[in-house]
């Protein structure tokens, strides 16, 4: 049963033939395909990781920009508020000054009008008084001396008032 014979040599040749045929025509393409797939998966994973990192960087950049924009917007609004407040204060001040000037002007004019009116009244009173007195005393008080006297009296009266 355990006869070692030429079958041994034949088997070695058999196997070598099988090995050579398979190695040459079958394993090369298959191992190549498996290696290609392996490399491709590794590449894909690498590029996916790279893309993820890029996206992360972009996201960070955007967040930074957004924060910057927000900061800027806040500054702009603050500045605008400041400017508006300044304008408002200026206008109020201007209005106040103008109003005061107008008030002073009006007071002055009122005073002038008043003086004018007093003068007019005085003249009118003198005329009336003279007329009335003249009519009353008729002939007796029409000399210049009399006129003057009456004026003095009239002034006395007006000043007393």
């Amino acid at each position: 049963m355990i006869d070692i014979n030429a079958t041994l040599i034949a088997q070695i040749l058999n196997f070598l033939v099988l090995l050579v045929i398979l190695a040459k025509f079958a394993y090369k393409p298959l191992l190549q395909a498996m290696d290609d797939r392996r490399n491709r998966i590794i590449n894909d994973l690498d590029s996916a990781e790279q893309t993820r990192l890029d996206a992360e960087a972009l996201k960070e950049q955007y967040a930074e920009q957004l924060a910057g924009a927000r900061q800027e917007a806040t500054e702009i609004v603050t500045k605008a508020n400041q400017i508006a407040q300044n304008i408002h204060d200026e206008l109020v001040e201007q209005a106040r000054v103008e109003q005061e000037a107008m008030m002073a002007n009006a007071k002055e004019r009122i005073e002038q009008e008043k003086q004018q009116a007093l003068l007019d009244i005085r003249t009118e009173v003198i005329k009336l008084s003279t007329l009335i007195a003249g009519k009353i005393v008729n002939q007796k008080l029409n000399s210049e001396k009399d006129q003057k006297l009456v004026g003095n009296i009239a002034d006395d009266v007006l000043d007393r008032r």
Partner: protein, 232 residues
């Protein structure tokens, strides 16, 4: 021993034929070896006829085995060793695996035996492995590779030679004994109890066939590994 041998002679036929003077070939073994080679070749070519980046069908099945063996090779002898030895180890495993299982197919119309039930085949394979180790060793380290026979000192030469001879011998005998015993027991069981029991034994033998092919392949890797590890 003689009784068992006689029983074996009665059930296992190698069909020895004397082709020339003193050149005897076991034709049954040869036929089955060729059949095994054909099956392996058909499966591998079917899987690689158009190897795709995205595998499907039989390419997937073959790739599962190749991936598994590649992983074992990578772990045992590094990536350089894997690249060099992959075709040899994969072919070896597929041949032994198919060869071990082919004798368990239903014996309808043809007398199917495992080529590995012949000591000539298993010893031939074991010797092939030893020679392959030498070839890799010389390719990688030059003739200086054989210096390891006299290391750590030349006194170890007989011991190293003994080891060098006993390794293939044990590999061959382990595979041969397992497969031959499985087939003999199967035939005996058919004669004792033709129903159910032989089927259970066939199921067991299928596992044994896989494990023996795996053990032989694994020992081959560990035999090749030192060649690729010595330089590091």
């Amino acid at each position: 021993m003689e009784v068992a041998e006689a029983a074996g002679e009665g059930v296992i036929h190698y069909l020895p034929v004397e082709l020339f003077d003193g050149v005897v070939i076991n034709m049954q073994t040869m036929y089955m070896s060729w059949l095994t080679m054909a099956v392996v070749a058909v499966i591998v070519f079917a899987a690689t006829r158009k190897a795709e980046i995205i595998p499907s069908g039989i390419q997937n099945v073959v790739e599962v085995f190749i991936d598994w063996l590649n992983g074992l090779m990578e772990g045992n002898m590094g990536s350089e060793g894997r690249r060099a030895a992959a075709p040899f180890v994969i072919t070896l495993f597929l041949y032994l695996f198919i060869g071990n299982e082919i004798g368990l197919l239903p014996q309808v119309g043809a007398h199917l035996t495992s080529p590995t039930n012949d000591i000539n085949v298993t010893l031939g394979m074991a010797i092939t492995v030893s020679l392959t180790v030498y070839v890799f060793g010389v390719m990688r380290n030059g003739l200086g590779y054989f210096k390891h026979f006299i290391q750590p000192s030349f006194l170890f030469l007989p011991l190293n030679l003994l080891e060098e001879l006993s390794k293939p011998t044990t590999m061959a005998l382990r595979l041969f004994g397992n497969i031959l015993a499985g087939e003999i027991l199967l035939i005996v069981l058919y004669k004792l109890a033709p129903w159910v029991i032989p089927d259970i034994w066939i199921g067991f033998s299928l596992i044994v066939g896989f494990i023996q092919a795996f053990i032989f392949t694994m020992l081959t890797m560990t035999a090749i590994a030192p060649v690729f590890r010595s330089h590091h």
